[in-house]
C-alpha cells in the first residue's frame, strides 16, 4: 500500500510555525521530519511518524505555493486563493524576509550579482546554513534591491511599502541595500569583529545625513534631474569634503585645534597623555578619510580606513569608550572655535555622522 496522493486543504490556510521555520531553514522534508521527531512531538501528541511525514509534506507544499506570493508581499494581502488572517500574513512575510546574521555578514557590501550567487556554496559551507536558505536570503536581498533601486523617497519607507516588513526589518534591508549599492568593504579580517548591527547603525546615519535625500528638500519639480534617493551618497557633499583638508594641512590650524581640544579635556580624560601624543595622527586620519571620499575605491574602504586610522590606534592605547566619546565630542566641537576655518556646516555634516559611526565601531 503506497500513498499516491495525500492533501489537506483548510478554508483558513493552516500555518505551522515550526514547520515554516524548518522550511525557511532549507531542510528537506526528510530532515524536517527527523528534526520534528527529535523535538518530541510524537510523544506529546501520540502521533505516528507517518502522520508527521504527511503533515510535513503538506505544509511544505503549502509554503511552496505561497512562496510565489511572498516574493511580492502586497500580492499576499490581495490574493483570494489562501484565506490567511492578517496577523499570520505578517508573520509569513516577516519570517520569509528574516535573515541570518552569519549570512548577511558574508554578503554585506558585495555586489548582489550572479557571481556572488556562485559563492553561496562556500558561504553555506562556512556558515553551516543550508544552501537553500542562503539562496532564499540572497534572493530576498537582490529582490528588495531591484525594487527599490530606482525609487525616489525614503529607502526605509520604500522597502516597507513594497515588502510590508516591520520597521526594524525594513531598516535592516535599507542598510543592506545601501551597502550593496555603495559596495562598502566589510569582509576584511580586521572588520570581522563588527556585527551586522554595527554596520546597519552606520548605514542609517549615513543615509540620514550623507545622501541626497538627506538634504531634506522635497523636489519641487518631479522631473528634476536631481535624484532624490537614499541609495547614493551626495556627490557634491563628497566633493566639498576636500575643503576639510585645511584642518590638517595648515599647521597652525592643526596646532590650534589640538590645543583647544587639550585645554578642554585636561583632567577629564584617563588617557590624556596618549591622546595628546596621538592627536595629530588621529586628526590626520579622520580628515584624510573625508578628503579621499571622492574616489569610489576609497568610499568602499571607508570602514577599513576608520578602523585602521582611528579604532585600532585608540584601542591599542586602551582608551575607554567614555574617553573616546569625550574626545570625539570635543574634537568636533572645537572646530567651531577655529576662526580661520569656514566650512563649519560641512564639518558638522561629516563629523556628526562619523562620530556616531566611530562610537558604534569602537568595541572589541
Amino acid at each position: 500500500m503506497t500513498s499516491e496522493l495525500d492533501i489537506f486543504v483548510g478554508n483558513t490556510t493552516l500555518i505551522d510555525e515550526d514547520v515554516y521555520r524548518l522550511w525557511l531553514d532549507g531542510y528537506s522534508v526528510g530532515d524536517a521530519v527527523a528534526l520534528r521527531v527529535r523535538s518530541g512531538i510524537l510523544e506529546q501528541t501520540g502521533a505516528t511518524a507517518a502522520v508527521l511525514q504527511s503533515d510535513t509534506m503538506d505544509h511544505y507544499r503549502t509554503f511552496h505555493m505561497l512562496e510565489r506570493l511572498l516574493h511580492a508581499p502586497p500580492k499576499l494581502l490581495h490574493q483570494l486563493i489562501y484565506q490567511i488572517p492578517p496577523s499570520r500574513q505578517a508573520l509569513l512575510i516577516e519570517r520569509y524576509y528574516a535573515f541570518d546574521e552569519a549570512f548577511v555578514r558574508e554578503v554585506l557590501g558585495k555586489k548582489l550579482s550572479k557571481g556572488t550567487k556562485k559563492d553561496l556554496d562556500d558561504i553555506s559551507t562556512k556558515t553551516g546554513i543550508t544552501l537553500k536558505s542562503c539562496r532564499r536570503q540572497f534572493d530576498n536581498f537582490k529582490r528588495v534591491f531591484k525594487v527599490v533601486e530606482e525609487m525616489r523617497g525614503s529607502l526605509v519607507d520604500n522597502v516597507q511599502q513594497h515588502f510590508l516588513l516591520s520597521d526594524r526589518l525594513a531598516r535592516d534591508y535599507a542598510a543592506i541595500v545601501f551597502f550593496a549599492n555603495n559596495r562598502f568593504e566589510t569582509g576584511k579580517k580586521k572588520l570581522q569583529y563588527l556585527s551586522f548591527g554595527d554596520f546597519a547603525f552606520c548605514a542609517e546615519l549615513m543615509i540620514q545625513n550623507w545622501t541626497l535625500g538627506a538634504v531634506g528638500e522635497a523636489p519641487t519639480d518631479p522631473d528634476s534631474q536631481v535624484d532624490d534617493m537614499d541609495m547614493d551618497l551626495d556627490k557634491e557633499f563628497l566633493q566639498d569634503l576636500k575643503e576639510l583638508k585645511v584642518l590638517v594641512a595648515d599647521k597652525d590650524l592643526l596646532d590650534l585645534h589640538k590645543s583647544l581640544v587639550c585645554t578642554a579635556l585636561r583632567g577629564k580624560l584617563g588617557v590624556f597623555s596618549e591622546m595628546e601624543a596621538n592627536f595629530k595622527n588621529l586628526s590626520r586620519g579622520l580628515v584624510n578619510v573625508a578628503t579621499k571620499l571622492t574616489h569610489n575605491k576609497d568610499v568602499r574602504d571607508l570602514f577599513v580606513d576608520l578602523v585602521e586610522k582611528f579604532v585600532e590606534p585608540c584601542r591599542s592605547d586602551h582608551w575607554p569608550l567614555s574617553d573616546v566619546r569625550l574626545f570625539l565630542n570635543q574634537y568636533s566641537a572645537s572646530v567651531h572655535s577655529l576662526d580661520g576655518f569656514r566650512h563649519q556646516a560641512l564639518w558638522d555634516r561629516y563629523m556628526g555622522t562619523l562620530r556616531g559611526c566611530l562610537l558604534r565601531l569602537y568595541h572589541d
Binding site: S3, N11, T12, L52, D55, D58, H64, L77, H78, D157
Partner: protein, 1025 residues
C-alpha cells in the same frame, strides 16, 4: 419580457502576462448571456486594467434567467493572431431572482481557466430588474427559494412542509462526443462546465415549478448530483423537500447546540402516550396570512383549513387506539403523495413522532445510451422503482413516511448502483397540511414528547414485528416499548435525552469481485450486495456495543463499485439514548472448545473487549443512572445484561441466509446481531483508536453532549489516494488496507488540528471512490469547532495555571495561533479565549497588524507627496507605534479581502444568521498536461481545491455574504495519467450563502469598550501570577 439583466465590468487585477515581449497584457472582456454577447474596449498594456464599462443590458425571459449562467470571458487582444483566452467567470444569477435574497452581485471574482487555474481577478457588478408576470402557464419558477440546509433555515419558520420533490435531466456528455477528438481539452472542459451549469439551472427551475404546483415557496434540503455515466450521457438529478416558509421578523433561538431542551413544554396531544388521555392544545382557529407574505412573482392563497384532528376534548377519551388514529390521520395527509419522503434531517419540534429505523434500497443497473434526452424515462423509472421499495420498507416498519432521505449512485464503466436510504418515521400531520395551526414556533411550547423519548418508541406493532428485535419498556417514561438499538439517518433531535458524549463510528469493508462484463458483472455485484450490507451492519453493531452506546444517528452507508472490488463505508454518530436499554457487551466463543491455548486466547480477547468497553464508557462519560431491574409491571423480560451469541464459522453463512435472505424483508435492515464473525473482525474492532484527548468527532450537525461552542471554526477537505499492491490481494488484506487508510486519515486530521484542542470534528463526511483498478480514493470534508471545556466563565485560575504551564513547557503550543481571522475576532472577544496562552499571540498579532497598518498609512502619506515628514516622528518616538495600535483595532474593515467562513453545518457557532442570500452550486473542471511541474498529483489537487474554496468565497462575498453554511463537496472525481504527465479533476460543491452577525455584535455595543480595555489588564495579571 419579464427581466432585464444588467452587467458592468469594472476592472481587473493581477492578470497574467500574456505578451512575453512587453511583460504586459492587452485585456478585454466578453460578456455573454444566452445568445447575446457584449464586449468591453481593449485596455492596453496593463495587468490591472480599468475598463469601467457601460451597463450591458440583456433583455431576457425569466426562464432563461433561471437556466443560463452569466458568462464572462477575459481575453488578451492580439492584432495578428486569434485572441487568447485568459479565463472565465460563470455567475449564477439565481440569487437575484427572489426578493429576499441578494439584490446585487458585486465584487472580485477569480478568473478561472481549466488549464491554468485562477489567473487574476475581475470586478463585476450584476443587477436584475424583474417584471411581474402573472401568466399561469409560464415555465419559470422565479421566487422559489432553495436551501441546501437539511433543516428549516434559521430565520424562517415552516408553515407547511409539503414533501418530496425530485427531477432529473439528462444530456450527452460533451467529453464523449465525436467532436472531442478534434477540439482542445480547454474547449472540451469548458463545454462540459457550461453544459452542467445550464443543466443545473434548468433542473432547479423545474423543481421550482413543482414546488409552485404544490403551493410551496421554498425547497429545503436541496441535493443536486451529477452522474457522469460516460458514453451513455450525463445525468443531473435533484431531490428536496418543498415547504412553505415564512420569514421571521426576529428569529428566535437560532443555535440548537446551545439550547438546553429543558424548556417547560406542555404535552402534545399527538404524541402523548396512549395510556394518558389526550387533550387539545391548539384548538384556536388557525389562520396564517401566508399568501400575503409570499414573493410577488406568484401568488398562492392558502386556504384556512383547520386541522381539528385532536380537537379539544374530543380525543381525550380515546387514548387507547391513539396510535392507530394517528397513523390514519397522517396517512390521509400523506397518501396523496407518491412518495412521503423528506430530505430534512432536523425538524421543527413536534414534527417527528416516532422513528422506526433505517430503510434502504439498492439496485444495480446497466447503463445504456440515453436516446432521447427530452424523455429521460429510464432513469426516472429506475429511481421510481427504488423509491417505491423504500416506501414499502417504511410501511413494513409501521411508518408512513421517510425522513433524512437521500439518494446516491456509484458508477463503474457501464454498471451503476443506485442507492437510496432514509429513516422510516411517523410524523405529526399538522405540518403537512395546508392551513396549519398558527405559528409552529409558538405552538411548539405546547408540544412535548415526554422528556425527549417519544421518538424512540416503536411505531410498529409489537406482535407483528418486521424483524427480530428485543423490546423493552422505555427507560424514560416506562410506558411505551422501545427497541434495544436504534439506527437512523437523521440528526439527533434537539430534545432527545442523551447520556454522555457521542462519537464517530465507521464500518469499513472491501470485497473482491471478478472482473466481468455487462450482465455478468451486474449479477456478480447484486449477489455481493446483501452480504456487504449484512457485514456493514454487523460491524456497526459491534462497534456500537464496543463504545457502550445504543443508537446511531446520521447513518450513511456508501457502497462503491470498482473494476475488481466493492467497497462499503458506513459512518454514523453513536450515542447513548437514555430511553433505550443499556447495550449488552460482546461475548466471543471459539469454534474448538477443546483446544486449551485457543481457549486461553479467546478469554484474553474477551478481556480486551471488556476493557475496551469499560474504557470507552469512561471516555464518553456514559454512566446511565442505575435502574432498578424490576421495571414496574413489566411484562417483558428484563433487559439482557449480555446478549450472547455463540457461533462457529460454519454456522455463520447459515445465519446470514436466515437473517437476510429467507426473511422476506431483507432490505428492512434493522438488523439485530450480537456476533463476531471471525478473529480478524475482533482484531479489527480493537484497532480503532479513539481520538486523542481533547478531540471528539461526529458526522452529525452537532455533537451530542457538547453545547458550549466557541466561535473558532475550520472547515477542511482532505483527500488521500492509495495504490494497492496488486499481488495476491485477499479480502482480508484489502480490508486491512482500507481500514488503515481511514484510520490514518483521521489520525492526520487530529494531528493537524491539534492547536484547536479542545475541539470537535463535526459533520465528518467520508466519500470513497475507486478511480482505477488498484487505487482507492477517500475524500473527507468536515469542520473543526472549538468548545470551551470549562463551562462559560469558569475560573480564570485554570487559565493561569494552564498558560503558565504551557508557557514553560510547551513552546509549540504557545506558538500556535488561533485560526480565527482578525476581522471578526477583534471586536468579538471581550474576554480572552479559554486558552489564554495567547498572551504572546495577541501582542504579536497586534504588532503585526500595526505594521501593516503603519505601512498602509505611510503608503498614503507618500502618495500624498510629502516625503520624509512622518518618518522621523515614527523612527524616534515609540509613541508612533502606540498610536497605530490604537487605530488598528478599529478599522479592520479596510482589510483588503473579506473573510468568508465555510462550514458543512447549518449554523455558525456564536453567531446568528441574519439573511440567506441564495444557493451556491458550482462545478469546476481542472486539467493539466504538466503534472510534474505542478507538484505532482498532490500539488495539482491541493491547488485546485484551494482554488475552488477561493471561488466559492468570492461568489459569497460578491452576494454580500460572509459565510457558506451546509457546504458540501458532492463530487471530487480525480483521474491521473502519470505516464503522459496529465491529470484531470472535477469538483462539484454547493451550500447556502448567508450573512451572519456575531452574537457579541448584536448585543449592546457599548459594553464592548470597557471590556476591551480590561483585556490587557487581565492578561497582564495572568502573566505575573
Amino acid at each position: 419580457m419579464p427581466g432585464k439583466l444588467k452587467v458592468k465590468i469594472v476592472a481587473g487585477r493581477h492578470l497574467p502576462v500574456m505578451d512575453r515581449a512587453s511583460d504586459l497584457t492587452d485585456a478585454f472582456v466578453e460578456v455573454k448571456f444566452g445568445n447575446t454577447t457584449f464586449k468591453t474596449d481593449v485596455y492596453p498594456k496593463s495587468l490591472n486594467p480599468q475598463w469601467n464599462s457601460e451597463w450591458f443590458k440583456f433583455e431576457v425571459d425569466d426562464e432563461d434567467l433561471q437556466d443560463e449562467p452569466l458568462q464572462i470571458t477575459v481575453l488578451d487582444h492580439d492584432t495578428y493572431s486569434a485572441n487568447d483566452a485568459i479565463g472565465k467567470v460563470y455567475i449564477d444569477i439565481d440569487p437575484l431572482l427572489y426578493s429576499e435574497a441578494a439584490t446585487v452581485i458585486s465584487g472580485w471574482f477569480p478568473i478561472y481557466d481549466t488549464i491554468h487555474g485562477i489567473r487574476g481577478e475581475i470586478n463585476v457588478v450584476v443587477k436584475v430588474d424583474l417584471f411581474n408576470d402573472l401568466n399561469r402557464f409560464r415555465q419559470s419558477s422565479c421566487g422559489v427559494k432553495f436551501f441546501c440546509t437539511t433543516s428549516i433555515p434559521k430565520c424562517y419558520r415552516a408553515v407547511i412542509i409539503h414533501g418530496f420533490v425530485e427531477e432529473l435531466v439528462v444530456n450527452e456528455d460533451p467529453e464523449y462526443q465525436w467532436i472531442d477528438r478534434i477540439r482542445t481539452p480547454r474547449a472540451s472542459n469548458e463545454a462540459r462546465q457550461r453544459l452542467i451549469s445550464l443543466m443545473s439551472g434548468e433542473l432547479q427551475r423545474k423543481i421550482g415549478l413543482k414546488v409552485l404546483e404544490m403551493r410551496g415557496n421554498a425547497v429545503v434540503g436541496y441535493l443536486q448530483c451529477f452522474d457522469l455515466e460516460g458514453e451513455s450521457g450525463l445525468v443531473v438529478r435533484a431531490i428536496g423537500t418543498a415547504c412553505t416558509l415564512d420569514k421571521l421578523s426576529s428569529p428566535a433561538a437560532f443555535l440548537p447546540a446551545c439550547n438546553s431542551p429543558s424548556k417547560e413544554m406542555k404535552e402534545s396531544p399527538l404524541v402523548h402516550p396512549p395510556s394518558h388521555g389526550c387533550r387539545s392544545t391548539h384548538n384556536s382557529p388557525i389562520h396564517t396570512a401566508t399568501g400575503s407574505r409570499l414573493t410577488q412573482n406568484f401568488s398562492v392563497s392558502v386556504p384556512t383549513l383547520i386541522y381539528t384532528g385532536m380537537g379539544s376534548g374530543s380525543a381525550g377519551k380515546e387514548g387507547g387506539p391513539f396510535k392507530a388514529l394517528l397513523r390514519q390521520q397522517t396517512q390521509s395527509a400523506l397518501e396523496q403523495r407518491e412518495f412521503p419522503f423528506f430530505t430534512l434531517t432536523a425538524f421543527p419540534p413536534g414534527f417527528l413522532v416516532h422513528v422506526g429505523g433505517v430503510v434502504s434500497a439498492r439496485s444495480v443497473k446497466l447503463l445504456d445510451r440515453i436516446h432521447n434526452p427530452d424523455e429521460p424515462e429510464t432513469r426516472d423509472a429506475w429511481w421510481a422503482e427504488i423509491r417505491q421499495e423504500i416506501k414499502s420498507h417504511a410501511k413494513a416498519l409501521g411508518c408512513h413516511a421517510v425522513v433524512g432521505y437521500s439518494e446516491s449512485t456509484s458508477i463503474c464503466e457501464e454498471v451503476c448502483i443506485l442507492s437510496a436510504s432514509g429513516t422510516a418515521a411517523v410524523l405529526n400531520p399538522r405540518f403537512l397540511q395546508d392551513g396549519t395551526v398558527e405559528g409552529c414556533l409558538e405552538q411548539r411550547l405546547e408540544e412535548n414528547l415526554p422528556a425527549g423519548c417519544g421518538f424512540c418508541h416503536i411505531p410498529y406493532d409489537e406482535l407483528n414485528m418486521p424483524f427480530p428485535a428485543h423490546l423493552t419498556y422505555c427507560y424514560n417514561c416506562r410506558k411505551q416499548k422501545v427497541p434495544d438499538v436504534l439506527f437512523t439517518t437523521i440528526d439527533l433531535p434537539t430534545d432527545a435525552t442523551v447520556i454522555g458524549k457521542g462519537c464517530l463510528i465507521q464500518a469499513r469493508l472491501c470485497r473482491l469481485k471478478k472482473k466481468a462484463q455487462a450482465e455478468a458483472n451486474a449479477t456478480a455485484i447484486s449477489n455481493l450486495l446483501p452480504f456487504m450490507e449484512y457485514e456493514v451492519h454487523t460491524q456497526l453493531m459491534n462497534k456500537l456495543k464496543l463504545k457502550g452506546m445504543n443508537a446511531l444517528f446520521g447513518l450513511r452507508i456508501q457502497i462503491t463499485v470498482g473494476e475488481n472490488m466493492l467497497m462499503g463505508l458506513a459512518s454514523a454518530t453513536g450515542v447513548y439514548l437514555a430511553a433505550l436499554p443499556t447495550p449488552g457487551g460482546i461475548q466471543i466463543a471459539g469454534k474448538t472448545p477443546n483446544d486449551g491455548s485457543y481457549e486461553q486466547h479467546i478469554s484474553h480477547m474477551q478481556k480486551k473487549i471488556n476493557d475496551t468497553i469499560a474504557k470507552n464508557k469512561e471516555l464518553y462519560e456514559i454512566n446511565p443512572p442505575e435502574i432498578s431491574e424490576e421495571i414496574i409491571g413489566s411484562p417483558i423480560p428484563e433487559p439482557r445484561q449480555r446478549s450472547r451469541l455463540l457461533r462457529s464459522q460454519s454456522e455463520s453463512s447459515d445465519e446470514v441466509t436466515e437473517l437476510d435472505l429467507s426473511h422476506g424483508k431483507k432490505d428492512a435492515f434493522v438488523l439485530e446481531i450480537d456476533d463476531t464473525d471471525a478473529m480478524e473482525d475482533v482484531h479489527s474492532l480493537l484497532t480503532d483508536v479513539p481520538p486523542p484527548s481533547g478531540f471528539y468527532s461526529c458526522n452529525t450537525e452537532i455533537m451530542p453532549g457538547i453545547n458550549n461552542w466557541t466561535s473558532e471554526i475550520q472547515m477542511f477537505t482532505s483527500v488521500r489516494v492509495i495504490r494497492l499492491s496488486s499481488l495476491n490481494l485477499t479480502n482480508h488484506a484489502l480490508n486491512k488496507n482500507f481500514n488503515d487508510l481511514c484510520e490514518n486519515l483521521l489520525k492526520s486530521l487530529y494531528f493537524k488540528l491539534r492547536s484547536m484542542i479542545p475541539c470537535c470534528l463535526c459533520h465528518v463526511n467520508f466519500t470513497v471512490s475507486l478511480p482505477e483498478d488498484e487505487l482507492i480514493q477517500v475524500t473527507v470534508t468536515a469542520v473543526a469547532i472549538t468548545f470551551d471545556k470549562n463551562q462559560a466563565l469558569q475560573t480564570t485560575k485554570a487559565h493561569v495555571e494552564k498558560s503558565l504551564q504551557r508557557a514553560s513547557t510547551d513552546n509549540e503550543e504557545l506558538l500556535q495561533f488561533p485560526l480565527e481571522l482578525c476581522s471578526d475576532s477583534l471586536p468579538s472577544h471581550p474576554f480572552p479565549p479559554a486558552k489564554a496562552t495567547s498572551v504572546d499571540y495577541s501582542s504579536f498579532a497586534d504588532r503585526c497588524s500595526s505594521w501593516i497598518e503603519l505601512i498602509k498609512l505611510k503608503a498614503q502619506t507618500i502618495r500624498r507627496g510629502s516625503i520624509k515628514t512622518t518618518v522621523t516622528v515614527e523612527k524616534t518616538s515609540p509613541m508612533g507605534e502606540g498610536n497605530f495600535r490604537n487605530r488598528s483595532a478599529a478599522p479592520c474593515a479596510n482589510s483588503t479581502v473579506g473573510v468568508v467562513k465555510m462550514t458543512p453545518l447549518s449554523f455558525i457557532p456564536g453567531a446568528k444568521i441574519t439573511k440567506y442570500l441564495g444557493i451556491i452550486n458550482m462545478f469546476f473542471i481542472r486539467e493539466t498536461t504538466s503534472l510534474r511541474e505542478e507538484g505532482g498529483v498532490s500539488g495539482f489537487l491541493h491547488a485546485f481545491i484551494a482554488e475552488v474554496f477561493a471561488m466559492v468565497r468570492a461568489h459569497v462575498a460578491a452576494l454580500g455574504g460572509n459565510a457558506v453554511v451546509s457546504y458540501i463537496m458532492k463530487q471530487c472525481v480525480f483521474m491521473e495519467n502519470p505516464n503522459k504527465n496529465q491529470a484531470q479533476c472535477l469538483i462539484n460543491v454547493s451550500g447556502d450563502a448567508v450573512v451572519f452577525a456575531r452574537e457579541s455584535e448584536l448585543e449592546v455595543v457599548s459594553t464592548q469598550q470597557p471590556a476591551a480595555n480590561c483585556q490587557p489588564a487581565c492578561t497582564g495579571g495572568e502573566v505575573t501570577t
